[in-house]
Chain length 222, copies 2
DNA sequence: GTCTATAGGGGGATAGAC
DNA sequence: GTCTATCCCCCTATAGAC
């Protein structure tokens, strides 16, 4: 065994890799402990339950990302203390920390998919946990977007933030399906190009003039 | 029993409701047949396996939607045979058929979440199935967007289409979490407002000038 | 802290009567 | 076509030796 990592971290490493590949319900503690090369019972000794492993794995994945998001936003707001706050800059602060994960070691690449998957996973116990982990980020970025997009009604702003999250989550999922992103040759240039495209696209959506569709279109859905 | 539906359809009705609520792995054939008020063995008689039930439920849900998408696009291309094809109109053809589902009977509302969930479900056997079901729609809409957005490089166009799908999929998932969309009072006005917001947002992204981020931002991710 | 062994419950699938 | 009964698998969790 080349690593000196302790049992707890070996379990979390395996949890990240397997949960992202097969979903929570698709991973048994047996497959998990086999992958981690630890005993089945040790997972209960260290975590107490499968549910606790899921939360711990997710927390270890997302906390540094959200910390970096807030740090980037701090820096951004300090630079622009007096004047204009750019939408693209705010989006960059929101997106780039996750994108960075997609370029790390192959063990870390699966993190990205894990985060995106967990958001759509219907486990009831995850929803309040998610809310806790993201509350600060959501609050701070809502304020930043409100400043970058003056005049946009709050309800519309919140909808657009959800759309932005949708773009990111979906892109994270798609990054795991390599055949979709084969324009670049590898991870290094790709991640940067995808991030740039994402920021441009979402900025375009954020900046769109809010308003109604043409009447003809509205009738068609009524 | 008020309905005269046969066993097969009762199973599919229950499958839609339960899969969308709990995910594929979260639903056992036992819970499925209990909800459907049919015998456990009947699911194997009619479908052969759980996997076949999943595919059948998904096909029954998505085929009419994709048919309507293509019909709307047909009509749109006929109207605009000579001149300009509007991005918002194409987006409307792509999005509105799913949005309509979200306003039907409560049994049908869960369809929407089902479709969104299945896209992120990591079941290997679903990916080729998905590809088959959406090939025609993707081909036709890629051509339509190419026409509506002349000059946009094909690779960028494909990225943006994935972003658009991400917005829709994420919105479908969120529609099930009612507390997120409580601005309107019910489903009727909400669905229309959400659809309008979505179309405006994605159109803004589609129409964004493709290009690079500012050099400072690019360095930060390198 | 780490292991073996096992409890106790569900899971998908199937055989065969009706 | 529909049912009951059952096979055999895998699951999480725990007890208790080391």
């Amino acid at each position: 065994m080349p690593r000196t990592a302790d049992t707890k971290e070996q379990i979390l490493d395996a949890a990240e890799a397997l949960f992202s590949a097969h979903g929570i319900e698709g991973v048994s503690l047996r497959s998990l402990t086999k992958e981690a090369k630890v005993n089945l019972a040790s997972v209960h000794y260290h975590f107490g339950s499968k549910e606790a492993v899921v939360k711990a794995a997710f927390a270890r994945c997302i906390r540094p990302v959200n910390r970096e998001r807030l740090a980037l936003l701090d820096q951004l707001e300090k630079e622009a203390a007096d004047g204009h706050l750019g939408v693209e800059a705010v989006l960059f602060a929101l997106f780039s920390p996750t994108m960075k994960l997609a370029r790390g070691s192959s063990e870390r690449q699966s993190f990205v998919r894990l985060c995106a998957r967990l958001y759509s996973e219907p486990a009831d116990y995850l929803e309040p946990f998610f809310e806790d982990e993201f509350r600060e980020v959501m609050k701070r970025f809502e304020a930043a977007f409100a400043r970058a997009l003056p005049g946009l009604p709050q309800h519309e702003l919140r909808s657009r933030m959800r759309f932005a999250v949708g773009v990111m989550a979906h892109t994270m999922l798609d990054c795991g399906r390599t055949h979709n992103w084969t324009a670049g040759k590898g991870d290094e240039t790709d991640a940067q190009a995808i991030l740039a495209s994402m920021v441009r696209f979402v900025a375009g959506g954020m900046l769109a003039r809010p308003g109604r569709m043409t009447p003809a279109r509205e009738e068609a859905v009524a």
